[in-house]
């Protein structure tokens, strides 16, 4: 059964129709790469999934829960939108690390900011469930916050270990190479434990010799059965890492299948042209 279901996404910017009816099913633990020439709507699709854009028409269901429906009576408020966004993580092409925070703080900032709300919920639960006086509740909440903070710091360090940047914990983003920055960005996205991790051309802003280290991290995530959607121009990587490759052209899913089928036995004319243009480029 599909984990994430995207039904009939349409999106226009003014006169320009960017998405023209996208349907996509993703299974749990599946790695899906989206390829296609620029302007085909890949990035817009990813942004719609992450609630950075709102599709004009369409429906999105994650794990049985309807996250988005253009026919819904009322629009989501800011709080609902934030909660829904947290189902997904997004790694940007241009990293977008927060320059004034060091590496570890970049990773822990967002989870730390969430503590306050969690503490409020916890406080409410306490009040309803057990008979405690004020001071006891206050103490319990303070403990809760302290524990959370420790948890977050510990998780942050583990993530740094995973992306192999422990020694850069206290470094600022301006002191990192592109590859290191992108690895921090991946750790930052993972810190919120998203159900699905999305990548928007994660290696396009990197020097060729630095793409490898980022791709290695993504591969290691595949081994841990993370569900991922990756927009990429790295065909070799797409072939290697994907369970499913989606080829987009002019705002529709032109062809979709196992990497082997897509790369070795393309059916549609557009995909054939796209693939040959890429091999030509490589040959130069």
């Amino acid at each position: 059964m599909a984990y994430l279901e995207i039904k009939d996404f349409y999106k226009s910017f003014g006169e320009v129709e960017v998405l023209k009816g996208i349907n996509l099913d993703i299974k749990k633990g599946e790695v899906v790469t989206i390829i296609g020439s620029s302007g085909s709507g890949k990035t817009t699709l990813l942004r719609c999934i992450n609630f950075l854009e709102t599709p004009d028409v369409g429906e999105m269901i994650l794990d049985g829960e309807n996250l988005f429906s253009s026919s819904a009576d009322k629009k989501d408020g800011e709080k609902e939108l934030r909660d829904k966004r947290l189902n997904f993580g997004l790694v940007f092409q241009s990293f977008n690390l927060f320059p004034q925070y060091n590496v570890l703080d970049n990773i822990t900032l967002a989870p730390t900011l969430l503590i306050k709300e969690q503490a409020e919920t916890y406080k409410k639960e306490l009040k309803e469930k057990v008979e405690l006086n004020r001071a006891e509740i206050k103490k319990a909440v303070a403990e809760f916050i302290q524990n959370k903070k420790e948890e977050i710091a510990k998780a942050g360090k583990e993530l740094l270990e995973m992306v192999d940047l422990v020694e850069k914990e206290k470094a600022y983003p301006c002191e990192l190479s592109g590859g290191q920055s992108q690895r921090v960005a991946i750790a930052r996205a993972l810190a919120l434990k998203p159900k699905i991790l999305c990548f928007d051309e994660p290696t396009s802003a990197l020097d060729p010799e630095l793409t490898g280290e980022v791709l290695k991290v993504i591969k290691s995530l595949k081994k841990k059965d993370r569900t991922m959607i990756i927009v990429t121009h790295e065909m070799g990587f797409a072939k290697n890492v994907s369970d499913k490759v989606v080829f987009m052209a002019d705002g529709v899913v032109e062809e979709m299948g196992k990497p082997k089928e897509i790369f070795e036995n393309p059916q549609s004319e557009k995909l054939k042209v796209f693939l040959s243009s890429i091999t030509n480029k490589d040959g130069e």
Partner: protein, 229 residues
């Protein structure tokens, strides 16, 4: 020597009024400018247009004219009279006069208009990716602004801000057109008695003060040099 001391103490008293006007204007205009800048980048068109017109008027007419209008108009139209302070603290009551308050109001809104444009430029110069990164990490708009964007904006706007703030200390001299007893008022007073040098002496007060401001701004800039935006 007696003359020098007399001039010094009079100019010092005048300069304390100038500095008071300077500090209070900053305390009001810095946050007010930020609020105005939010209005001028608001998506709600009536609000945006209204404040853009206000900023246009405040930047488009002479500050001295604004001081006159704010001081005289309420009385002429029988609207209200600027209040007097009566705290019993002699120096304070002598400094914070009705005229001073009118000047303070004029400076505050005029400088808030200039500051708002600096803030707007600063906010709009921050890459969209910073806002989006905050969004996908589940932050609220307020958190994104205060935890992510603000410090970057501050770093960006220090050079134009320091320019404006240095201009402000010198602009406070305009207040003596409605007879606020600032340093230049007294320097002029001595000149009318035939003493020329207090004018230059008054200039030295400004120079030293601006020198101090420059050092402070350099420090802040250095403090924020650990990151790049």
């Amino acid at each position: 020597m007696g003359e020098f001391l007399q001039v010094t103490s009079q100019l010092l008293e005048g300069f304390s009024t100038s500095v008071m006007l300077f500090i209070l204007t900053l305390i009001i205009a810095l946050p007010l400018g930020l609020i105005i800048s939010f209005c001028t980048i608001s998506k709600f068109a009536p609000l945006r247009i209204f404040f853009k017109v206000i900023v246009w008027i405040l930047r488009g007419t002479p500050l001295m004219l604004q001081i006159f209008v704010i001081f005289y108009l309420p009385g002429l139209l029988n609207l209200f009279v600027w209040p007097t302070m009566d705290t019993g603290w002699a120096w304070f009551d002598r400094t914070i006069t009705t005229r001073f308050i009118a000047a303070l109001v004029a400076f505050s809104i005029n400088y808030a208009a200039y500051f708002s444009e600096i803030y707007r430029g600063g906010i709009e110069s921050i890459s969209k990716g910073q806002f989006e990164a905050g969004q996908v990490l589940g932050m609220t708009k307020t958190q994104i602004f205060f935890k992510v964007v603000l410090l970057q904006v501050i770093k960006r706007i220090i050079p134009p801000m320091s320019n404006e703030i240095i201009t402000l200390i010198k602009d406070t001299a305009l207040a003596n057109f409605i007879s606020v007893l600032d340093i230049l008022y007294w320097a002029k007073d001595f000149m009318l008695d035939g003493l020329i040098w207090p004018l230059f002496y008054a200039g030295a007060f400004y120079l030293v003060f601006v020198g101090l401001l420059t050092i402070i701004f350099n420090r802040v800039e250095k403090k924020l040099s650990y990151f790049r935006v």
